[in-house]
Symmetry: C2
Subunit: 407 residues, 2 copies
């Protein structure tokens, strides 16, 4: 008997028929002899509707209250799924994040899970109940309700799998797995059977939206195999696990191409190249909770340099309002913003210690007449910032260069 934690996203439980479909899938897994804990997101547009309600009341709602409000979306879908299972003769109980023992810090709207106390879930499983957990939420030591922010339900599922010492975590969504590139851009894209945690982490961080990087990190930390598959078909999905299978590594050392168009670039021109300047710029951004992605500082000419970094587009306005006065105070010449950019990345653990990948990537982009604005790399990833309108051409060309097409 295996213990499986499943997660169903908002599009998988968008209406009554879809909830019944999910119930049938869970009941099947139960019939096949497994214990099942299922984590659910809020139904389809529920979260947007709740946000709209709050906006009608207040422009800047209290974070604590906002979290309690949003948490009801997942509570609603979890009870409906438990009812649908009951209707199939499959005993089920829904649990809120608090009841499920998801303990978090008190950073409302982006709480981190501190620990999972699986006692209640274990009790229910021992009573032969299937357990439905409201995703995306937890509770502080003061019994206040928190939400986990982006990727919250994925993170709930993997954290529960770790806390319960489950055999597997299964993320069911509206795509059939992890592809070598976005199938909407590249018709010849192929689905991966397996992918390593590190590679998936780079893929997820650099634009592949199927699973949130927090969940992948947690999976790696506790060595939980994560299946990503479709709620709407029985096609085998992609397993994220300790290592990509060897044959894939031999065949091809690039695993996939990720891209992300949610990129804006800020350049602070003519910054004095002396200690403390970077701190002066990035400290207030961190305090404003703005994530900085790529940071590049050009070689200094006459003690003057340019500092360039990227942020998410929706943070651009806020970031500029913070950076401009700081730039003035350190006597930089000007701040320039550009929000028509995209990131494109090649990712593969096989690239490690193997030269030539960067050169092949740059050559491919150059052949397509695509200008590279910034370059950053990790051990298993090479990322170029390019113009947004060339993303499709870039992904297709790179997919071909690195031989990722279906045979």
């Amino acid at each position: 008997m295996a213990l499986i934690v499943q997660k169903y996203g908002g599009s998988s439980v968008a209406d009554a028929e879809k909830i019944k479909n999910v119930a049938r899938r869970i009941a099947k897994a139960k019939r096949e002899g497994n214990q099942v804990v299922a984590v659910v997101s809020a139904m389809g547009d529920t979260t947007d509707e709740l946000i709209h309600m709050a906006q009608q009341i207040s422009e800047h709602p209290e974070e604590r209250e906002f979290d309690v409000l949003l948490s009801t979306g997942e509570v609603i879908s979890s009870t409906l799924l438990a009812m649908a299972l009951g209707n199939l003769g499959c005993k089920a109980v829904s649990l809120t994040g608090a009841q499920a023992g998801i303990h978090t810090d008190s950073n409302y709207s982006r709480a981190r899970i501190l620990r999972v106390d699986p006692e209640r879930i274990t009790n229910e499983l021992n009573k032969d109940n299937t357990v439905i957990v409201a995703g995306f939420q937890g509770v502080t030591s003061n019994m206040d309700i928190t939400t986990l922010g982006r990727g919250g339900s994925d993170t709930t599922a993997v954290a529960l799998a770790a806390g319960l010492n489950a055999d597997m975590c299964q993320i069911y969504t509206d795509v059939e797995g992890i592809y070598t590139a976005d199938p909407r851009l590249v018709p010849q894209t192929s689905k991966l059977d397996r992918i390593g945690y590190e590679e998936m982490l780079e893929m997820a961080s650099y634009g592949a939206k199927v699973i949130h990087p927090r969940a992948v990190e947690l999976g790696e930390l506790y060595n939980i195999p994560i299946l990503v598959a479709s709620t709407f078909s029985d096609t085998p999905g992609t397993i994220i696990c300790k290592e990509a299978s060897m044959d894939m590594e031999v065949k091809n050392k690039v695993t996939g191409i990720a891209h992300d168009t949610n990129v804006a670039k800020i350049t602070v021109v003519g910054v004095p190249d002396r200690p403390g300047v970077a701190t002066a710029i990035f400290d207030p951004l961190a305090r404003a909770n703005i994530s900085i992605d790529t940071i590049v500082q050009n070689a200094s000419i006459g003690n003057i340099t340019d500092l360039t970094f990227t942020v998410a587009r929706n943070d651009l306005y806020k970031a500029m309002s913070i950076v401009e006065p700081v730039a003035k105070s350190v006597r930089s010449k000007q701040c320039v913003a550009d929000s028509t950019l995209a990131k494109i990345s090649i990712i593969g653990s096989g690239m490690q210690n193997t030269p030539g990948y960067a050169a092949r990537m740059f050559r491919t982009l150059s052949e397509q007449d695509i200008n590279i604005q910034l370059i950053t790399t990790s051990e298993i990833r090479i990322t170029c910032i390019i113009s947004e309108e060339r993303v499709k051409d870039a992904v297709r060309a790179l997919h071909k260069t690195f031989e990722l097409e279906i045979a």
Copy 2:
């Protein structure tokens, strides 16, 4: 500084504007130097929408799950109200029933409050926070969420007022107080300044829908004065308290007229008049959770009697399906049902030990040519069951007879 528990019903928080209006009222009470705990119902149609969702999933949803689902309605309105208060610069936190320390038994959908643990609320009040509590819900010793059934939010408010030793409980609703009769039936009806708990209990139990009898009982038990007033005006309401003021008692010994059209009558004809028959009939009804109201057994003739009782109309079908086989088994002649009836009651603590009220009531109905089908009385109430279509005439005539019109 007084500690006030307020309660706002579903029509008081039906939309964003109404929630803002409620927030202004609470902020005003706070500015006037009071500590405020406000209990809210779900917004307008929320509960109906949640019920509809459940019905799309399952014809007979699990009670435990159904309660968790319904409880989200009050959680949503409580967070929105807290946000609206924050927007007015009035610090507020929302609490779920569980967080507010409302401990109940585990009778889902009609849980009873076992105790109130006011620690968290007291802590918040000491931090100068206004506390918004999601009404209608509580939590079992196993941390499962329950709902309190009909009148749940009224009951939450009075229970909190008792648990917090509050100075007053204020029930804000869409009417301006307790009237001598339903203003929709009697144009000359007048609002009572005060009414005793016992009288109010009889009024509420016998058709005045403004406040639920459970809440009145609890108020009496803990001697909490309860104000009933309008959310939408500043007109003084009615105070329910230990004793009606003396001058009212002197002026007029009938306090008000209640009526209730949710009445169905079942008569078991030709029942053998021997021990155990009533038990045989009423035990299975109690087990099926059907409330029996009036019970009348006629004088026995030749050891054969007729047994008549009333139930709520929506219970009639279920009650008949239980009673008919029992009636057969005790060899009664037949069961007859009538669902076109209404109860009409005159209520007043001054009627106690004062003869003549019943006679005046019967005479008034007779003068209107209204037939009385059943009569029951308590110390402070006389109730007649009459045909539903004569209710308006009966209320108006009795209102006149007992001199309740506005001077």
